[in-house]
């Protein structure tokens, strides 16, 4: 056996690190979607953002429910509440610590109630970036270690008095904005119910029905078409196949306007049938099935034909069972296509008739109506995205093989 040096293992580690980095990039938006969909509407706007959904812990005191804040007092985490009393505080620091342009960003040395601070009458003057001068008065204040010091006032602001739940004697002043609220992980599963009630349940059923219709229709037409193109011989078949195949080359954009006019002519605007019937005929699916049927040996079929079996019997009894992988691949492709389609529903259903919305349309509507509630919008996104993902996890092989085979042939 060859000896493997440390370089080899480092290389392997590097490879996995690289793959994991990319895997994280690929998966992160979905993690974000799931985590946001489980958050409360206050939690989503917290900076810096967090992945887990939290809710504030609350405690009852004197018949009132109060949010709990945590303070570290001499190494002990103490649960406290905001009393509602605020007091003006001064924030003092040495002249060299003052950031002249944004004094609030300065590192503070002493926080002291302004009412108790003694003005000395002196002040220091510093020059700002724009050339103007800023004056900072100097006060006499008591530092945390008990010494009396003379320091300039960097800025002032109100602080909230907090009191411990368990011991009313313990109080302290702190900024309510930066005080650490006690929280617990609390996924809001109710978001899903709430969003489904915003007519997304109807959209979900619409999408399911449309998808089932398209998949079943495509399978039927493609299996028949693929069989005829691969096994039934007649004049003109190959020309017809070439023409049919050529239609794959035509991008859908060319058909947008006339298909829309056709739907208007048929009176199919705003209907679910317009999302199903035009899409059950697919040159791609027919091509896929034809290629697969071509690989089935001729002898099987000839023996059956000799026995007097009809073509339809042969197709149903022999070809269909033999082509489960191809059929699964086609079913998955048409499922994804139908489930995720957006442009066509947008044109035909529009943003108006919400009863016939499919999920993609409903999602756009939701994101416009709840532009300030990412938790609601991303719950909708999760409802739209999770079904194909679950299918992918269950039938991964067919997805990957389907994509791979399309490339090998191309």
């Amino acid at each position: 056996m060859r000896h493997r040096g440390i370089g080899f293992y480092l290389g392997r580690l590097g490879l996995y690190a690289f793959l994991t980095l990319f895997a994280f990039i690929m998966i992160f938006p979905f993690l974000y979607m799931m985590s946001t969909s489980l958050k409360t509407s206050n939690d989503v706007f917290r900076t810096p953002p967090r992945l887990l959904p939290y809710s504030p812990i609350e405690r009852e005191l004197d018949g009132q429910i109060r949010p709990v804040f945590l303070f570290n007092l001499d190494g002990v985490n103490t649960e406290m509440y905001a009393t509602g009393q605020t007091e003006q505080f001064g924030f003092f620091t040495s002249p060299e610590n003052i950031i002249v342009d944004t004094p609030r960003a300065s590192r503070v040395e002493v926080e002291f109630p302004l009412a108790e601070a003694v003005e000395t009458g002196e002040s220091i003057t510093l020059t700002r970036a724009d050339g103007r001068e800023a004056t900072f008065p100097i006060y006499e204040v008591i530092a945390p270690n008990g010494e009396t010091v003379r320091l300039p006032l960097a800025f002032r602001g109100g602080l909230m008095r907090f009191r411990a739940f368990d011991n009313p004697e313990i109080t302290l002043f702190a900024s309510q904005r930066t005080a650490e609220a006690a929280e617990f992980v609390d996924p809001q599963w109710g978001n899903y119910q709430a969003v489904l009630n915003l007519n997304l349940d109807r959209a979900l059923v619409n999408t399911t029905l449309v998808t089932v219709g398209v998949v079943v229709g495509q399978l039927i037409t493609s299996i028949f078409g693929g069989y005829a193109f691969s096994r039934v011989e007649f004049k003109g078949r190959d020309t017809l196949f070439l023409v049919y195949l050529g239609s794959i080359m035509i991008p859908f954009v060319v058909l947008i306007i006339p298909m829309y006019r056709l739907m208007v002519l048929l009176g199919w605007q705003n209907t679910l049938v317009s999302l199903i019937v035009p899409w059950i005929f697919t040159a791609y699916g027919t091509f896929l099935m034809r290629q697969f049927f071509m690989s089935i040996p001729k002898e099987i079929e000839e023996a059956a034909l000799m026995d007097g079996a009809s073509r339809f019997r042969i197709l149903w009894g022999i070809f269909v069972p033999l082509s489960t992988p191809a059929i699964a691949t086609l079913a998955i492709f048409s499922f994804l296509y139908a489930w995720n389609s957006f442009l066509w529903p947008l044109l035909i259903i529009g943003e108006g008739n919400t009863n016939n919305h499919v999920l993609t349309l409903a999602l756009i509507r939701l994101s416009n109506a709840f532009a300030e509630s990412p938790n609601i919008v991303l719950t909708g996104a999760a409802i739209a995205i999770l079904p194909p993902m679950i299918l992918f996890v269950l039938a991964q092989r067919y997805f990957i093989e389907g994509v791979a085979s399309s490339g090998v042939k191309g």
Binding site: F30, G213, F234, S247, P258, V273, R311, I400
Partner: protein, 558 residues
């Protein structure tokens, strides 16, 4: 239709006596009905607002059955052994009549379903399902039973699954007011259109069947038998292709030559739409003048360049189209490397037989299965300037760099969705993220087709990993690379969902407008159907040309 010459063994004496007179009578009725229909179409004041040419075309199409009926009636009356231009042979007559009646029956039934409004039953199904959501569990149970049945190879269990599923469908139909629907459907027979359609459908299918089963009497050859079976199997595809592809394609071409808009009859204006797209003006003027002043009426500035003291002004009648086209091309040019280079790299790693590669492959592929609208909306929030993770990550990274290495990099605070210079990049990043997994899987399939021996041979020749990548992998991956580039390009040139869903405000920034988005706006906001069709054809020709050039380059390389 291609039908081989008649077989002389036809034996008409075995035919039932009624068949020929009935056929002739039905043909006469069809011919007369179609003539009347054709006249009726011509007399319509407007034909779906599609203009006179379409009206005339429809009237002509309706005349085709008249010709067919006359032709086959002649064949039936004259009983020629060989086909000629005007009269078909008996065998060909039967063959043609089969198709004729099949088509008539199919179209009649489709017409009946359409006319009676049964196509709108889908909405009722949804309502029925909404009222009985627990049916989902029934269908799931049915599937599970069926699955167990196929695993255990027990026909009984499988059949139970099917029955459970059918019962579920039955309940669904009942709760969707199926019975009431049937009653409503029957009541539509007060509409003479539905009644006539049904009668003609029944008669046509009866005659079709009558001719279908009498192959022996007409001396059918095995080739003919196979041929009609083939056509029959293809018939749904062919009908669908004609109605939902070929027809609209022709209509699209026609509309692109008209000034079609909403609420009025389109007039043919030939190439004016295309001319409007392609109208340019190049002018020079002193640098002190505003660019717009150099252009004629109707032109707007597309670009201007200052050369010394003169300003070159490039004007177009529709500069927005050209801006959108440029955006689309830039989008593609960025998307190609961004989605291909990482995919190639990842696929090479995945191709090593290390443990866990299948899991990584699945994870990389995950974004490909999600709806673009969904991922775009996720990214909209990730791009958010105040609560988005992307800016948070950048800020954290820069802060870390600045504190660790003492550098003083400025935090860019990118406004992903509003900064005109960035919006297109935001779309590209989203699109590249979404299709990269797809490309990875394609490359992986290509790599797995390269024989291992080649790498071994290269190693014996002393090639290192880099050289064998350059000299073995890349050349042999050419076909895959070609396929990937074409797919990415063709989908990239038609990008629409990403810009639509990524930008919350309307109108979306002009720098993010792609060609298809522009087409959508022209067609469905300004209702310039004719002009939008011309844009569509222009885009199609553009995409087609690019693909064609790629094909030629690929050929030459071989």
């Amino acid at each position: 239709m291609n039908v081989s010459s008649a077989s002389p063994r036809a034996d008409l004496t075995a035919l039932p006596v009624w068949l020929r007179p009935v056929t002739l009578a039905v043909n006469a009725v069809i011919a007369l009905a179609c003539l009347a229909q054709s006249r009726a179409i011509l007399a319509l004041p407007d034909f779906g607002n599609l203009g006179d040419p379409v009206q005339a075309f429809a009237a002509m199409v309706v005349l085709l059955p008249v010709v067919a009926a006359a032709y086959f009636s002649a064949g039936l009356l004259l009983r020629r052994p060989q086909s000629s231009l005007l009269v078909p042979s008996l065998a060909d007559t039967r063959y043609g009549l089969m198709f004729f009646y099949f088509l008539a029956a199919a179209l009649s039934f489709v017409y009946v379903i359409w006319r009676s409004g049964a196509f709108n039953g889908f909405e009722f199904l949804v309502t029925g399902f909404m009222q009985n959501a627990w049916l989902a569990l029934v269908f799931m149970a049915a599937y599970v039973i069926f699955w167990i049945g196929s695993r255990a190879d027990s026909a009984l269990v499988r059949r139970t699954g099917v029955i459970v599923g059918l019962v579920g469908i039955g309940i669904l139909l009942l709760s969707a007011n199926f019975l009431q629907g049937v009653v409503d459907l029957l009541s539509t027979y007060r509409d003479p259109g539905v009644l006539i359609g049904t009668i003609s459908g029944v008669v046509a299918s009866f005659l079709c069947y009558a001719y279908l089963t009498r192959g022996v009497e007409f001396g059918e050859t095995p080739q003919q038998r196979q041929a009609w079976q083939g056509w029959l199997m293809l018939s749904p595809n062919i009908l669908g292709f004609m109605i939902f592809f070929a027809g609209p394609l022709l209509l699209s071409l026609y509309l692109s030559f008209t000034d079609d808009s909403v609420g009025r009859e389109p007039q043919v204006i030939w190439l004016q739409n295309y001319a409007h797209i392609l109208s340019f003006e190049f002018k020079t003027q002193p640098i002190t003048e505003p660019a717009q002043r150099a252009l004629s009426f109707g032109f707007r500035v597309l670009a201007s360049f200052d050369v010394g003291e003169t300003r070159l002004v490039w004007g177009a009648r529709d500069p927005d189209f050209w801006i959108s086209l440029r955006n689309t091309i830039v989008f593609c040019l960025m998307l190609l490397p961004l989605s291909i280079v990482p995919a190639l790299l990842l696929s090479i790693i995945l191709n090593t037989a290390l443990p866990g590669m299948k899991v990584y492959r699945a994870v990389f592929f995950l974004p490909s299965v999600a709806a673009v609208v969904g991922t775009a909306i996720i990214w909209r929030w990730l791009y958010s300037p105040n609560i988005g993770y992307y800016n948070y990550a950048i800020t954290s990274l820069i802060t870390w760099l600045n504190t660790t290495f003492g550098t003083s990099i400025n935090d860019p605070q990118i406004a992903w969705l509003t900064d005109p210079n960035v919006v297109l990049i935001s779309i590209v990043l989203l699109a590249a993220w979404q299709i990269m997994g797809n490309n990875t899987v394609l490359f992986l399939a290509g790599l797995q087709g390269i024989p291992r021996e080649l790498y071994e041979a290269a190693m014996i020749d002393g090639a290192n990993a880099w050289r064998s990548f350059w000299n073995v992998t890349l050349p042999l991956l050419r076909p895959t690379m070609f396929f990937v580039v074409i797919t990415v390009m063709v989908t990239g040139l038609q990008v629409f969902n990403e810009p639509y869903a990524l930008f919350p405000s309307r109108p979306i920034p002009i720098q993010a407008q792609t060609s298809v988005f522009y087409l959508y706006q022209q067609g469905f906001f300004r209702f310039q159907f004719g002009y939008a069709s011309a844009i569509a054809w222009f885009l199609f020709l553009f995409i087609f040309t690019l693909t064609f050039i790629q094909f030629r380059l690929q050929r030459e390389d071989r």
